[in-house]
Symmetry: C2
Subunit: 585 residues, 2 copies
């Protein structure tokens, strides 16, 4: 037996017991004739005490223990003279009678402490050491708890977890599919799923009624900070349901998860249409931890001689509470912020409502005090507030204003990671026009059902059709999304027509699903949650990599195992593959 | 709202309630002026009643409902005149007041009944219809329950479920790796994991103490009836444990699973060394639902002039109870059985112990009655029993006798799928000699620790070293296997030496693990269970395909989605790959 207790277990009531512990040396301290070791395992830290007076040999041995040595000790639990209230075991220490080194350690390349001195690249390479640090350990434990609670809740609600295949079929649309060459079938490939969408719909056709799966998905796309080539979804689908049933079920799941993992009682979820979200926040995933809604100012600002506003499709402002005291420099910085290429505003107009009731603006040569006050009034501004205005093409301007609003939220401390405001965004457009390919794309995916009353427009005015789709948004993060699906072959065919698929293409790509719909397909709908993001949100962090045990970096590389990598020519030969030389440009 | 109740819910106490149901038409029957529909969903079947007298139009409509139509009805729960005790809803039926067709169905290509008329290929192609049948539905529900109970048990025991990556690194040894070309990194590949072995060991180095994961694994090997290119494991690892800790933990898990899913109380697990298993059953996964142990007969059979036995390394028999009445034809059939190429015995010798006490044998010209009786006595045979004897090279003969023993077990009805006899097989050889490559291979894997007392032989007599490894075997099926791992860099290096790896090869292939061992690696060990097989065993079936929602066939093809398949040249170009023309032989 390596241990009688863990390093997080001993309390005052264990005093006088003889115990065995095993763990890692967190640190060693010498104090007068004593040596203390903090012994660490997953469960906590326990102080070990060695005395030169009582056992000089053992104490000398203890002094040689380096950081991260793995040791096993036996000793007696005694009361600690100076108690440490910061840790649960802080009332006791072990008077050690024997010490056994199980494994030595070289000096780690960075310190294994809550705040480490290691850069991200180094910590990725030595991920197994980084994972020893409490912040990452707590993230992994939170993730485990979220998965356990998800399964518990859904099992209680009658959902069945059913595993779907990872080796599936590449589709012509699947430009971002990872493919897997088959050794047995020369020149043929499997593909890794971007989601189990078609399989879960087939399970509904099979009558499984309520399905879920916590499942890995794969997408070979250019990576951004919050994307990984492999990511995890909570994937769900239900039969004989309408939108209300789905929203209620998963609002319930989410409330239960927050309650049972981080002890947060979520409020009831607001509902907002996509149109309202875009109009009021310039985003289909607004952060509702703070207001600062968009104020459309076209009527009040145009035809006063200011050409920038006169020629703008949209003039829109936000009211920043208590920011009238912003200096010229502050305002210039904000202007620089909105002019960044990734935001792309041409400029920013500000109106200060000073504490003394006077107004000042960058554009007061075009607008009278009365004009400016009308704008402030519409924005519900009070003395001391600052009105920030952007203008231009509607979508572009809304997008820029969204960024400015979030920036102001950050500056004003309105985006507390411990506060959670959940929201359902509904009534998305079914289709969006893609300029590049000159055809409609499904905003969610081609199986999303239109809202019933809009159905007749699907051939006449496809861009006006709303989808029976919904996103769950918390604090500006899209946590999940889904829809009621098409379950009717004819409607599905119309949808493929609208998307510009020929009958042959549709049949080739989704033939098995269309075939399945011929044999009694029930109404169904579902949702998929981004599990990595959900964990990061619950953990109060932005970076999903901190919630994945072995993540890849932004270039899709695993720095620890050094992958991807070249494979042997033998292996390629067996797969009947050859690597093409890079073509000279 | 599509329904107020499911089709498995209504009982006598619901009589007089107005209800809404939705589901599939299982069958339609006309009886006099009445029409009855069995309406089916995941939860059961409810009878719907329509009367020509009360509502002719509705009854006519009901008569038009084909098999597998999806309908929604409203009606009143009434008492059934002829109750059906075979189904939970058999006391009631619904007097239907309205019927709404949600989805029509063509005639399915095979009948959706417990016993279907569809062949396996057809059912694989229309898997979504096959999954509607009760036997498959019950298998999926059992699998779900097993997963839920596994997680519950392991979470209660302090295990953390941690997801490990699916896009990992191909290794030179990984001849059976599926590889995944990277689009971003030209000419480089990820590989899909054959198991998360190294990652779970790294998690132990990281201090996670107890890890598990229900995880998909991939192996691109020639397929057999019970193999799939992707399969699911319950993968587990523990720190600061010895073999006893691991065996006790997972014996506990397995007992709990059987108790809570199929209500079977497993007996305590027997323990058997690999040597004993081979000697007594000719298999490292003996089926202990019946005895029929091997009796070694060399001493009693040699030097009597029968050259076949005289020249044999091993002469071994089994005693088939009550089979002395086997006819010449029966015995010829058994001889044919053992002479099949896949078994490969040259012949079989039998000795009948007749009910009247006389003996008869195919070889009585070489052996006296006294000789034969001595053999029978050693085999503990009684009058009425039959002794079957094989001979030849030891390993080969044991293997053949194992097949004969299992065949006799089948014939005698000793392999009841509802009876479960679990067993730990321990003390496997660490290494096995591979004639083809002329080097040692790790019997489990290169990280398996030798048994401590055998360690000194690892360079002097590697073939004699026993591994600290164990397999869980139930009813002759290997359900799980694992080992205590090497956690010492030096020993790991010796192991690689014994396996004929150069230092460079070892570093290239497992460098990150060897590196990790430099920073305080704790003693650890674990196990992995074949989850598909476990589900099949608990479900009392041999074929794991029946416990996988969307399996592949024996050629690794998914007949439903038609995969693997060719991909577009554009896609290949993006991956910098070219398919090599098949070389002419």
């Amino acid at each position: 037996m390596y241990r009688s207790h863990t390093c997080g277990e001993l309390r005052s009531e264990h005093i006088d017991q003889t115990v065995k512990l095993a763990g890692w040396v967190q640190r060693t301290r010498n104090l007068g004739g004593m040596t203390f070791i903090d012994l660490r395992d997953r469960y906590g830290v326990t102080q070990l005490a060695f005395s030169m007076e009582q056992n000089a040999d053992l104490c000398e041995k203890a002094r040689k223990m380096g950081r991260e040595f793995v040791i096993q000790i036996e000793g007696k639990v005694i009361e600690r003279s100076s108690k440490n209230d910061n840790i649960p075991t802080g009332a006791v220490e072990i008077s050690v009678s024997s010490l056994n080194v199980l494994s030595k350690s070289e000096v780690p390349p960075f310190t294994i402490e809550d705040d480490t001195d290691g850069g991200e690249e180094l910590r990725m390479k030595y991920r197994y050491l980084d994972l020893r640090r409490n912040p990452l350990k707590n993230n992994m434990m939170l993730r485990h708890k979220l998965a356990i609670e998800t399964r518990k809740y859904l099992d209680d609600q009658g959902f069945l977890e059913i595993e779907t295949p990872y080796l599936i079929k590449s589709t012509p649309e699947g430009a971002r599919d990872f493919v897997v060459p088959s050794r047995m079938h020369e020149g043929q490939f499997y593909a890794l799923p971007q989601s189990p969408q078609t399989f879960k719909q087939l399970l509904m056709v099979s009558g499984y009624d309520k399905y879920f799966q916590i499942v890995r998905c794969f997408r070979d796309e250019d990576l951004r900070a919050d994307r990984q080539p492999e990511f995890t979804q909570i994937d769900c689908e239900m039969t004989f349901v309408d939108r209300e049933d789905v929203l209620n079920t998963f609002e319930g799941l989410t409330k239960s998860l927050f309650q049972n993992t981080i002890d947060v009682k979520l409020p009831d979820f607001k509902r907002m249409t996509y149109d309202d979200a875009m109009r009021l926040y310039g985003s289909d995933k607004p952060d509702l931890r703070f207001g600062m809604e968009f104020i459309e100012l076209n009527e009040l600002t145009q035809n006063k001689g200011f050409k920038v506003f006169d020629s703008a499709e949209l003039v829109v402002g936000i009211c920043a509470k208590g920011c009238a005291n912003y200096s010229r420099k502050d305002l210039d910085k904000l202007t620089d912020f909105v002019k960044r290429p990734q935001i792309g505003a041409k400029g920013m107009v500000w109106v200060k409502y000073n504490e003394d009731g006077s107004v000042k603006s960058a554009v007061d040569k075009f607008y009278s005090e009365d004009d400016l006050k009308k704008m402030l009034e519409k924005a519900d501004a009070q003395p001391g507030d600052l009105l920030l205005i952007l203008s231009g093409e509607t979508n572009h301007t809304r997008k820029a204003m969204n960024e400015l609003r979030l920036e102001m939220g950050n500056r004003l401390g309105l985006r507390d990671p411990k506060k959670f405001v959940p929201l359902w965004v509904v009534d998305f457009p079914l289709l969006e026009w893609d300029e590049e390919t000159e055809r409609y794309h499904a905003m969610h995916h081609p199986f999303t059902s239109p809202i019933e009353e809009d159905m007749e427009m699907i051939t006449s005015a496809p861009e006006k059709v709303r989808a029976n789709a919904y996103d769950m948004v918390i604090n500006g993060v899209e946590i999940g999304g889904g829809s009621i699906r098409i379950h009717d072959n004819e409607l599905q065919q119309k949808m493929f027509d609208a998307l510009g698929f020929t009958k042959e293409e549709a049949q080739k790509q989704f033939g098995f699903l269309l075939d399945a719909f011929k044999y009694g397909a029930p109404p169904h709908g579902g949702i998929a949650f981004g599990f990595d993001r959900l964990a990061a949100l619950a953990g109060g962090r932005d970076n999903i990599r901190e919630f994945i045990a072995f993540p890849k970096n932004n270039a899709g590389r695993d720095l620890m195992i050094d992958s991807p990598s070249i494979v042997s020519t033998d292996q390629l030969e067996e797969l009947h593959l050859k690597i093409e030389e890079k073509k000279e440009e």
